[in-house]
Subunit: 453 residues, 2 copies
C-alpha cells in the first residue's frame, strides 16, 4: 500500500469537510421527527460512495430507514469484502451538557466534537476514504461492497429482513466493521467478542388518575414506590440478576482464558479517576473487565413518573415508567431472555398495581474466532501501522446485527474499530480524535492487502 | 340569616363570572415563570374584597409572593373571624390528560372544570361571597379579616414570617379555612385533624457523565438502579417506614377513638372501583381510613433519570433524581423528621455513588378539639343547611400553615371545607360541583351567626 500516508496528508482537509457534511445531518433514528434526515443522510452517503469510486451506489428501501448500498467489482475470482456501517446516530439529550452544538462539528484539542463523530459516521467514513485511496492509486486488491444502514442505534430492526431479501447481492467473504474501540492510541486491539442486548419498556399503573398525595397517600399504591421495589428486586446482594433461568445459557469461560484476558492492560485506579467514582460496582466474583466482557448485566436506561419539574408538587401519580436493558453474552438467546424477563417482571407485581412490559429490541452476542483468516489479516494490518501486535478484547457493547449477519448471510465479521473509551459515544460531547480517524484510513488498506494474499 | 338562598339565586351568574376571572390567572406558585401571574391574581383578589364590602384591602409584600389582606371592623367588642385562603394553584402537568384547558373554566355536568376550581380559588371565593351577602343584607355579626396567600401549594414559606411581622393586624378569635373536603354531598363533615408534611429532592450521581451502557454496564454503578434500591429500602415488607426513629413521636390513638372513627361511612369496594384498583396498599395493621388519617406515610412524588424520551437509547446515566414526601401526624416534628430522613438516606448510599438530599418544605400536623366554640359553631351551621350533624374526620392532606397559625398567632383554625374526594385537586381535570360552591356560600354565614352568639 504505497503512499497511503502521503495520500491522507494531501487530502485530509477534504476528508474532514466531507465527513462534516454527513455529521451536520441530524440522523437520529430513535426520534420520528428526524425521518426526513435519515433519507437526506442516506442520499449523501450514496453520493460519497460514487465519488470514492464505486461502480454503482443506490439508496435501497427497507421496512424502515433506507439502506445505502454500493459496490466495485474488480474480478469475481478475487475475495469480496462487505463494509458495514451505520449513518444513524443516538439522541443528543441532555442538550445542556454539550459544550458545542451536537450537529455542528468543531475541531478542538486534536479531536472532532459532534454527535456521530465516532459512532459511526467518523468510523464508517474511514472505510469510504480508505477505499477511495485504493481505487485512485490502483491498489484495490479485492471486490468491495458497502452496506450502510440507518437503524443500528435502535436495533437494526429492518436490516434483518433486508439481508434475507438481498442475500445474493450481499454475498462476501468477510464483513469489515469499524464501529468498536481500541484500548488506547498506542495499544491497538481487535474486538473478538460483543455482548448481545435485550431492551424493554415497562409501565406500572396504580390508580386510574393522579391523586392528592395527602388524601390518598399511605392507602393507595404509589406506582413509583412499587416500580422501585420491583427494580431493586432484579439484583440480589451480590449483584447477581435474580430472573429465574437468566444465567442458564451463559458460556462459562475457562480459567485459562480468564487468565489470558487479565493480561490486557487495565488500570482500575485510572478508570475510577476518569469516571470520578469512589468504587466500581458489579457482579461479585468478577473483575471489571470480566463484568463488561464475559458477563451479562441489567441496567435501567431511563425512569420517569410523577412530578419531574420545578418545585415540590405533592402528587400520588397514576403511572411510573422505566426503560430496562440487559447486555447478554454467548450463548444467551435474546428471545428467550425477553420472555423470561417479561414473565418474571409481571410475576413480581403486587396485586395493587398493573404492569405492562413492552419488548423493544434485542440482539445476540457474537464471538469472532482468532484463528480465521480475516482476524489474522486485521491483526497484521494493525501491526503494520502501529508497530505492535493488537490484543484481542471482548467489548461490553452490542452490535446485534453482527450475529444476524452470521445467521442470515453465513458470513463472519471482523471488528476492527479505532474508537477510544473516552470518545463519549451515546453521551454528550461525543468526540473522535483526528489521529484515530487518519490512522484508521491508513490501516484499512493493509487489511485488504493481507486478506487478498 | 334571612334570604341567603334567595341572594345566591339572584347573584349566582355574577358569582361564577367573578370566580372565573380569578381562575383564568394561571397562578402556579411552583413555577417561577408565573411570578407576574401571582401579582395579578393578588390584585384581582383585592378588588373583589373591596367590592364585597371590606373597609380596606391591600396587596401586602412578603418575603415571596404577596399576601392579600382585607378587613371590615364593625365593632371592636364583637368577635373577629380571620378568613384564610390561598390564591396560588398546583402545576397542571401532565397537560395531555386534561379534557378541558386548565385555566379556561368550563361548566359541564353540574361542575366547574379548571385548575383551582376547588383548591382553593373556588373554596376561598365562597368566603368572599358569604361575606358580601352578610354586608349587603346588614347581617354581619362579627368583625372580619381576610388573609389570602400565594404560596400554600409550595409550603407557605413566606407566610410564617408575614404572621410574625403582623401579629396585631391578624389578631382574631378564630381562623376559618375552606380548603378541605367533606365526605359526600349528603354527608357533611368537618376536618378535625390534618397531616403534616416533609418533602425532599434527592440526587444520586454515579460516573461524572452519561456512559455507554454496553461498554460500562455491569462494572459501573447505575444511579437509577441504586436509587431504586435505596427507595425500596425505605419500607419493609409490612409497609412500615424503615427510617430509624421515624415513628418515635407518633401520637398513638386509643382503641376507643379508632372504634369511633370506624363509624364514619366508608365503602372500600366503591373506593377501589372509583380508583380502578384491585387492592388497597398500605401499612399492615391499619384500615384505609386510618392509613390516611392517623398514620404517617412516605411517597415518591416524582422520579427521573436517563433516557425518558421516545425510543430505546442504551445509556448508563450519570444521575438519577426523586422527589420524596412524607405525610406526618401529631406529634411528629417535621424538622426532626427532615434530619432523620436526610441522615438515613445518606447512610444507605453505597460507596459507588454520591447522594445529595435537599430539604424542600415541611409543616406540622394539626388537631382541632371538638369541644371548642368555633367547632360547635361550624357543626351547627352545617346542621342548619344540611339537616344532619357533620361527622368529624381526619384528613390525610396537609395545610402546614394551620399549625403555624396556632404557634405564631395563638389562634385555632376551623376547617370547614366543601370539597369532595372526586374533585381531583392537584391532578388533571380538577373540578368543583356547583352544588358544593353554592352550599358553602349558604352555610358560612350561619357559622358567623353561631360563633357570635
Amino acid at each position: 500500500m504505497n503512499d497511503v500516508k502521503a495520500y491522507i496528508e494531501a487530502n485530509k482537509d477534504r476528508f474532514l469537510d466531507e465527513l462534516f457534511q454527513l455529521i451536520r445531518i441530524p440522523s437520529i433514528s430513535a426520534e420520528s421527527e428526524h425521518k426526513p434526515d435519515m433519507v437526506r443522510c442516506a442520499e449523501q452517503w450514496k453520493e460519497f460512495l460514487l465519488q470514492a469510486g464505486c461502480d454503482k451506489a443506490e439508496v435501497m428501501p427497507s421496512a424502515g430507514n433506507p439502506v445505502v448500498f454500493g459496490q466495485k467489482i474488480i474480478d469475481p475470482a478475487k475475495p469480496t469484502v462487505l463494509v458495514y456501517g451505520h449513518y444513524d446516530v443516538m439522541p443528543v439529550a441532555p442538550l445542556e451538557l454539550w459544550r458545542t452544538s451536537p450537529f455542528e462539528p468543531v475541531i478542538k484539542d486534536g479531536k472532532i466534537w459532534a454527535r456521530g463523530a465516532d459512532d459511526d459516521k467518523g468510523q464508517s467514513f474511514m472505510q469510504a476514504k480508505a477505499f477511495e485511496f485504493m481505487v485512485r492509486t490502483n491498489q484495490l486488491p479485492c471486490n468491495v461492497k458497502f452496506m450502510i444502514e440507518g437503524e443500528e442505534e435502535i436495533g437494526s430492526g429492518s436490516l434483518y429482513g433486508f439481508c434475507e431479501e438481498h442475500k445474493e447481492l450481499l454475498k462476501s467473504d468477510v464483513i469489515l466493521v469499524c464501529d468498536t474501540s481500541m484500548i488506547a492510541p498506542d495499544v491497538p486491539s481487535i474486538t473478538s467478542g460483543l455482548r448481545g442486548l435485550c431492551y424493554w419498556e415497562v409501565e406500572v399503573t396504580g390508580a386510574n388518575h393522579d391523586l392528592h398525595s395527602g388524601i390518598y397517600g399511605g392507602a393507595v399504591a404509589n406506582p413509583i414506590n412499587i416500580l422501585c421495589k420491583m427494580i431493586a428486586g432484579l439484583h440480589d446482594e451480590d449483584n447477581h440478576i435474580t430472573i429465574p433461568g437468566f444465567y442458564d445459557d451463559v458460556l462459562v469461560i475457562s480459567d485459562e482464558e480468564r487468565a489470558l484476558m487479565a493480561q490486557a492492560p487495565f488500570n482500575e485506579e485510572a478508570y475510577k479517576k476518569e469516571l470520578d467514582i469512589k468504587a466500581v460496582h458489579g457482579e461479585k466474583g468478577y473483575t471489571t473487565k470480566e463484568r463488561t466482557g464475559i458477563r451479562p448485566c441489567l441496567d435501567i436506561c431511563g425512569i420517569w413518573g410523577g412530578h419531574t419539574g420545578e418545585g415540590s408538587k405533592t402528587v400520588l401519580p397514576s403511572k411510573a415508567y422505566a426503560k430496562i436493558s440487559t447486555r447478554l453474552v454467548a450463548n444467551q438467546d435474546y428471545n428467550k431472555i425477553s420472555e423470561l424477563f417479561q414473565r418474571y417482571f409481571e410475576s413480581i407485581a403486587p396485586e395493587c398495581v398493573t404492569v405492562k412490559v413492552t419488548p423493544c429490541h434485542g440482539g445476540a452476542a457474537y464471538v469472532s474466532p482468532l484463528e480465521m483468516k480475516a482476524y489474522k489479516a486485521a491483526e497484521k494490518a494493525m501491526e503494520t501501522t502501529y508497530g505492535k501486535r493488537p490484543i484481542p478484547t471482548r467489548s461490553g457493547g452490542s452490535i446485534p446485527i453482527v450475529a444476524g449477519f452470521e445467521k442470515i448471510l453465513g458470513t463472519k465479521s471482523i471488528l476492527m474499530g479505532f474508537g477510544l473509551g473516552s470518545d463519549d459515544i451515546h453521551a454528550p460531547n461525543e468526540n473522535y480524535p483526528l489521529e484515530q480517524f487518519f490512522k484508521g484510513i491508513e490501516t484499512i488498506p493493509y487489511f485488504y492487502q493481507y486478506f487478498a494474499e
